[in-house]
């Protein structure tokens, strides 16, 4: 396509966008509604991933040391743990520290702990975190083989369930999104089809003065892209504003356990994905609805 032709198509497409005022508004509204849902999905899945990651990295495994293990042996166990590839961090918790933490928990009811001070029932332990949760199984067998480790407290099952659940939610919402995007393309191409139908005579005339299909199609496609881009701008604004509002009101609740992305962090993925989708939906919608009228 020459620069001259490109300029011609852009001018024609833009003119026609403004000329078809009401239909353009209708198309923009439809596209925006679709893109808002897509945007919500983008934010939802980003945060779901983020949360899963946090759960993974914060996931601790606690190893209790056998009673009467010497301090040097304990130090060696620490070294051995550090030597395992999949182990990320290793923290030693002495039984006195554990007891003090315990005491914190019973602050209001210290009587219960009376008499236990001198005969601490707790054990020394290590808390470790892993690089890759999927290899928990093999790492655990390595840890269990270390001499002096009495037993390992591991919530792998519940973590597995959580990771599995987030995966399922993501899948389900993805299929829902695809389904909805298809419906939107259908609605949009119908909206555009009405404008194309109103202009079928024009298309017909163009064919008879020797215009190729693409010469006729490009202005429509550019008009569709314009609709998609404006829809993208509107939906990015609405989605990011609503997300900011959501964070402002409920963010505190969630903040203590799991962090969500800041608004600033989701803007560029939103812009990229929604603009991309808008362009594709708009361009496809108009190119598709023209088809029938080009065969004269």
């Amino acid at each position: 396509m020459s620069v001259r032709a490109f300029k011609f198509f852009v001018v024609e497409g833009t003119k026609s966008f403004f000329k078809n005022g009401l239909m353009s508004v209708a198309s923009v509204v439809t596209v925006s509604m679709c893109l808002i849902l897509c945007g919500l999905y983008v934010i939802f899945s980003m945060n779901l991933n983020y949360a899963a990651k946090q759960v993974e990295t914060n996931y601790e495994i606690q190893l209790f040391i056998e009673e009467g293990t010497s301090d040097t042996r304990i130090a060696d166990i620490g070294k051995e743990l550090n030597g395992i590839d999949n182990v990320n961090t290793v923290v030693f918790v002495s039984k006195d520290q554990a007891f003090n933490q315990w005491k914190e928990g019973f602050k209001d009811n210290l009587a219960i702990l009376e008499g236990l001070e001198d005969d601490n029932p707790l054990r020394d332990s290590f808390k470790i975190t892993l690089h890759d949760l999927k290899q928990t199984e093999s790492t655990m067998s390595q840890v269990n083989n270390i001499q002096g480790v009495a037993y390992v407290k591991n919530n792998k099952d519940s973590i597995d369930k959580l990771v599995d659940l987030t995966g399922k939610i993501k899948n389900a919402s993805f299929y829902f999104m695809v389904f909805f995007a298809l419906i939107s393309v259908f609605i949009i191409s119908n909206t555009i089809r009405i404008t194309v139908f109103a202009r079928r005579r024009e298309v017909n005339i163009m064919k008879f003065v020797g215009a190729t299909d693409w010469f006729i199609r490009w202005p429509f496609v550019i008009e569709g892209i314009l609709v998609g881009l404006i829809g993208a701008v509107i939906s990015v604004l609405i989605v990011s504003q609503s997300y900011g509002y959501f964070l402002g009101t409920t963010g505190v609740l969630i903040n203590s356990t799991i962090q969500l992305y800041e608004v600033a962090a989701v803007i560029s993925p939103l812009v990229i994905s929604l603009a991309g989708m808008g362009i594709i939906i708009g361009a496809l919608g108009s190119a598709m609805s023209l088809r029938r009228h080009l065969y004269v």
Partner: protein
């Protein structure tokens, strides 16, 4: 070269618009097609432009059997033919200037070429002062002349004019016919459909007369006169 060989056209509703029509128009000829309303004249132009397909026989234009034209070849074929439609078919949202420019833009003419050619054709049809006006604001005769300007702007080898003077006063009509004759003298094959009896009589060109879908006369001279048969 335009060659109709035993062409029949039956529309979907059963109307037979052309019944076994044959004629040959050589390169550089000037031919009138005359006949009463509904005789099948516009059907001939529609077949030439591939707006309709014949239901029988073959149409050959410049050696191309129109039946063999592929969809993607169609635009390039149509650019060989300048046409003035009976119903003008101007783009309603474009000015007179842009309507004519569009016929040049489809073949990727430069802005410079367009700027040079359009004032020229507009003055030929006497509409220089209407360049910026939309077709909706023109009289029927003016629209007709815009359509003619658009048809001739690319100097096509074949020019077809379906009733190019239908809405014109006798003086303007005569000017337009004169213009068509000039175009013909430059080598363009011209096919003119008309009801203007006096002009046809005066111009002494080949006349094909159609009645009810068949050719009843094909010869030189006005259709009211005796004529030399081909």
């Amino acid at each position: 070269m335009i060659f109709f060989n035993n062409v029949t056209k039956r529309y979907d509703n059963g109307t037979v618009a052309l019944d076994d029509v044959s004629f040959f128009i050589d390169k550089g000829e000037f031919v009138f097609i005359v006949g009463s309303s509904g005789a099948g004249k516009s059907t001939i132009t529609k077949l030439i432009l591939c707006e309709e397909q014949p239901t029988g026989g073959t149409v050959l234009i410049n050696g191309i059997n129109l039946k063999d034209l592929k969809h993607r070849e169609m635009p390039f074929y149509r650019r060989q033919i300048g046409i003035v439609f009976q119903d003008f078919r101007l783009l309603p949202n474009k000015s007179v200037y842009d309507n004519i420019a569009f016929a040049m833009q489809v073949r990727n003419a430069t802005t410079k070429e367009i700027r040079r050619a359009i004032p020229n054709v507009l003055s030929m049809v006497g509409l220089s002062h209407k360049a910026k006006v939309r077709p909706g604001q023109l009289s029927g005769g003016e629209q007709q002349r815009v359509a003619l300007a658009r048809a001739m702007v690319n100097n096509p080898p074949v020019l077809i004019a379906d009733e190019p003077t239908g809405n014109l006063d006798p003086a303007t009509a005569f000017d337009i016919m004169q213009l068509l004759e000039d175009i013909n003298k430059r080598g363009t094959t011209v096919l003119t459909v008309t009801h203007a009896r006096d002009i046809v009589d005066k111009m002494k060109k080949r006349v094909i007369e159609i009645d009810n879908g068949t050719i009843i006369r094909d010869g030189v001279g006005g259709y009211a006169n005796e004529c030399k048969s081909f």
